[in-house]
Structures are given as structure tokens and as C-alpha cells.
């Protein structure tokens, strides 16, 4: 595993969204259909989704939470090593926020590795900014260079679709039995 400065060179950074507009219903549906191709169980867990993405990726994925205070400007990254991939989120974030960022990185993996037939007009495969392919995914991308690109919007929507597949309501015991 690289150091964080190394990761900066080798990792793909997720930038913070700054100006999200209204979400397109077609994009949301396309993202759900895209995640549907992972053939997840009805109540999927992180492990189910990670395993499904690993199946497409062809390599194991290690999930890491960085506690380093140096990881300030970004919320997650994907490191594509030769034999494995690493998805990094920040330990300081709330668990649901960490999970969303981890899903976002998994979505990047899918955008790079999934078969062409998975992509549609609503959800096209978009080239990764500053990269020439999976082996060189890793150029640092700042908010200025990436802005809120169509690629990031689509990736984030797929991340939301993964979260939808995995999240369930935390009912109280009262509601479980009498609700």
C-alpha cells in the first residue's frame, strides 16, 4: 500500500460536489438498471456489492478507512494496483457518508471495467479524467480540472443506486412488531 503522497499520484480522487442541480429521473432509472446487472440479492450488504464488483474487476478489493489528517480535500479514492484494488474512504466521516464514498469508488471501478453493453444513452461510459485506462487511472484531479463533470454525476448516481440496493430502514422494535 502506498503512502498518501504516493496515493495522490496513483489514486483517483473523488472531488466534492459543489453545485448539484435537479436529478434526472432517466439517469436515476438508468443507474438502478446498471446496478441491477450486478444481480445483487434483495437486501444486499456491502459484502454482496463488493463481491459483485470484484467479479467484474477481476481482482480483490480492499476497503480502507484513512485516519490521516492529510486526507482533507477529498472523500475517497480508488487505487488500482496490479493484483488488487483499494477503495479508501475517510475514517472521520459518518459511516453512511463513508459508505457512499466507497460506493462511488466501486462505481468508478465499474465504469472502467464493466462490459460496453452495460452502458446506455442515459448512462454512457465516460472517459476517466486524466487517465488513459485502468493501468493509469490515477492522475490527481482537482475540483478545478474535473468540476462537476458528467462522468462524476453518472458515477455518483450509480453510487446512489448501490446505496439504494443496500440500505434499509432501521425500525424500532415497537414498529417491527406492531407497525
Amino acid at each position: 500500500m502506498s503512502t498518501e503522497s504516493g496515493a495522490r499520484d496513483r489514486g483517483r480522487w473523488r472531488v466534492l460536489q459543489t453545485n448539484e442541480g435537479p436529478r434526472s429521473g432517466a439517469l436515476v432509472r438508468a443507474a438502478d438498471a446498471f446496478v441491477g446487472r450486478l444481480e445483487l440479492p434483495k437486501h444486499a450488504t456491502w459484502t454482496d456489492i463488493q463481491s459483485a464488483v470484484e467479479g467484474i474487476y477481476g481482482k480483490p478489493i480492499v476497503l480502507i478507512a484513512s485516519a490521516s489528517p492529510a486526507l482533507q480535500a477529498v472523500t475517497g479514492l480508488w487505487i488500482d494496483a496490479a493484483d488488487f484494488g483499494a477503495v479508501v474512504c475517510r475514517e472521520a466521516d459518518q459511516p453512511h457518508y463513508q459508505a457512499q464514498n466507497a460506493f462511488h469508488e466501486l462505481a468508478h471501478v465499474l465504469f472502467a471495467m464493466a462490459p460496453d453493453k452495460w452502458f446506455t444513452k442515459e448512462l454512457p461510459r465516460t472517459p476517466l479524467v486524466g487517465s488513459g485506462g485502468p493501468s493509469r487511472l490515477c492522475a490527481y484531479s482537482s475540483e478545478e480540472t474535473i468540476g462537476l463533470s458528467q462522468s462524476e454525476v453518472a458515477v455518483e448516481e450509480v453510487a446512489f443506486a448501490m446505496a439504494r440496493a443496500a440500505q434499509t430502514l432501521n425500525r424500532s422494535t415497537e414498529e417491527t412488531y406492531f407497525g
Binding site: T18, E20, T45, A67, E91, Q94, Q98, A99, T173, F178
Partner: protein, 316 residues
């Protein structure tokens, strides 16, 4: 009659509202079966089918009374099962054979009552001079009382919110059962004279049905109030987003809090991520009130125990 009809309306509403959830979740089923059995029991009071017509459909001979009582026993048995599941006590489940024995004893005693026709809502009191009629009433009320006390014991200490209300209703209904047993016994042995018995028997059902109505309100609290409170919380979260312009152009508040729970979960998650993004970008610092709303909204999600990242880079 007003009390019975109120209870019927409430329980029917609960049976309909809770049906889909009972279909999908086994934990929700006992309370739903209780509402179905309770609905059957409460429809024997003349609404929506006149008692004579209903009894004729059952073959006459006041089998309507038997149906009412058996359904009530079944309803309380299922309610006890729901409360037992809720309380998670070691000996929580009543063996089904006990229900079978109770229903059989009540049925046998009923069949032994002489001169059951014509249809009467007060068959047991009408025939209270017969020892078997008195025994029938005592057996039925005794079973009801036992189940209610058992239910209340299960949740007396552990119950929270709506379950406390259900427990309070069970205690009141249990006291109503004690009053009913006392009235039946006094009537059978001729204590107090006919006017006393008649006036007392008219009011003795009140604590029973008021307690039942309280139990139903408790269940309604879990069925209706908790989801409404959740939607209000999501509405407040939505308002935070609107006030801070995180999602200009999104749906207005009334539409944001409607929809299926799956949609609400997705919407809440989306809002929380927008808020998190804004916080990290330094565009939003929540007030204490907003922080409390955000924390409560985060607690709406069941934690995914599989999501356990390996923590690295911790300062020594």
C-alpha cells in the same frame, strides 16, 4: 355499543393498514393475526351484519356468541405472541396446544348450554342460572384474563412508547375481565338481586372495551404515529436542504415526505450526502438544531455490519 363499534372501526383500519407489512415480515404477523381475529370477534355485535342474520348463517343456536368468544381468545393469544416476540424473553412463546385446549374447553362448555336459541347478545347472562352457562362465562373470561395478565407481565418493565400504551390497555381490559367474572358469579348465585345484576351487567363491559380501545390506540401509535414522525423528520431535513439551497429545483416539501419507505430512505440518504458534501466543502456549518436533525436522520438507516473498513494512518 358505541365502544364496540369504535373498537371495530379501529381494529379494521389496523388490519388493513398492517396487511402489506405482515405479508413481508414475520415479526409483524402475530399482531396482524390478532387484528384479523379481533375484527371477526367485533363484527358479531350487529354491524355490519345484523346479529340474527349472522347467527342464521352460522346455523342458529347462538353460535354467534361462540364465534365472538373464540375469535377474541385467538386475538389475545396472537397479541400475546406479538408482545412475547417484542419482549424477547427466554420463555416467550406460548405453546399452541394451550390455545387449542382453551378453545376446546370453551366450545364444549358452550355446546352443553341448554336453550341457546333465539339469537341474543346476552346469552350467558340470559342463561346464567345454568351452572354450565356460568362455567362457560368463567372459562372464557378466565382464559382472557390469564392471557392479558401474561401479556402485561411480558412488557410491564421493558415496554416503550406504543407498547406501554398497549400494556396499560391490557391491564384495564384485565380489570374489566375481573369485573365480568364477578358479575357472572353474582348473577349465577343470585347475589344482589335482579335490578343490581341488570344495571351492573350493562356497565361491566365498559372497562373491558375501553382497555381494548387503548390497546388498539397503542398499536395505531406504532402503525401510524411512528411513520408520521419519521416523515416529519425527513421533512425537516428537506427544509434544511432547501434553506441552505443544497438542492434547488428539487421536489417541494409535501411531495418529499410522501412516497414509499424505500423512496424515503433513498431521499433521506441523498439529502444527508448533499449536506455532508456541503459540510466538507465548507459551505455549510449546521446549527445545534440542524445537527440534531441530521443525527436523527442518520439513525434512520440500519447499520450495514459488513461495512468495516480497515483503519490505517492513525496517529500514534
Amino acid at each position: 355499543m358505541i365502544l364496540q363499534l369504535t373498537c371495530l372501526a379501529l381494529i379494521l383500519l389496523l388490519a388493513v393498514l398492517r396487511g402489506p407489512r405482515a405479508l413481508h415480515r414475520s415479526q409483524a404477523r402475530p399482531a396482524w393475526w390478532a387484528s384479523v381475529a379481533g375484527t371477526i370477534s367485533l363484527t358479531t355485535y350487529g354491524v355490519p351484519i345484523p346479529a340474527q342474520v349472522y347467527d342464521r348463517l352460522l346455523g342458529g343456536q347462538n353460535f354467534l356468541t361462540l364465534l365472538r368468544d373464540l375469535a377474541a381468545v385467538a386475538a389475545l393469544w396472537f397479541l400475546r405472541e406479538a408482545l412475547a416476540g417484542y419482549s424477547r424473553s427466554a420463555k416467550r412463546y406460548a405453546a399452541p396446544w394451550r390455545l387449542g385446549v382453551a378453545l376446546t374447553v370453551i366450545t364444549v362448555l358452550f355446546v352443553l348450554i341448554q336453550h341457546r336459541a333465539p339469537t341474543s347478545e346476552t346469552l350467558v347472562i340470559d342463561q346464567i342460572a345454568q351452572p354450565v352457562s356460568w362455567l362457560y362465562g368463567i372459562a372464557y373470561m378466565g382464559v382472557v384474563l390469564t392471557m392479558l395478565i401474561d401479556s402485561a407481565r411480558l412488557t410491564m418493565r421493558r415496554g416503550r412508547g406504543p407498547v406501554r400504551v398497549i400494556t396499560a390497555g391490557a391491564v384495564l381490559t384485565a380489570s374489566g375481565s375481573v369485573v365480568e367474572i364477578a358479575v357472572l358469579t353474582a348473577a349465577h348465585f343470585g347475589w344482589g338481586g335482579a335490578p343490581f345484576r341488570e344495571s351492573f351487567s350493562e356497565i361491566s363491559g365498559a372497562p373491558f372495551f375501553v382497555g381494548l380501545a387503548i390497546m388498539l390506540l397503542g398499536i395505531a401509535g406504532a402503525t401510524v404515529v411512528l411513520p408520521i414522525r419519521r416523515r416529519l423528520l425527513i421533512g425537516r431535513l428537506h427544509q434544511i436542504g432547501q434553506r441552505r439551497s443544497f438542492h434547488a429545483g428539487q421536489r417541494p416539501l409535501p411531495l418529499a415526505v410522501l412516497g414509499t419507505e424505500k423512496q424515503l430512505v433513498a431521499r433521506t440518504h441523498h439529502l444527508l450526502i448533499e449536506i455532508g458534501n456541503a459540510e466538507h466543502a465548507g459551505r455549510f456549518t449546521p446549527t445545534d438544531d440542524e445537527t440534531a436533525v441530521i443525527r436523527r436522520a442518520q439513525a434512520l438507516f440500519r447499520p450495514d455490519t459488513d461495512f468495516r473498513p480497515t483503519v490505517v494512518g492513525k496517529a500514534a
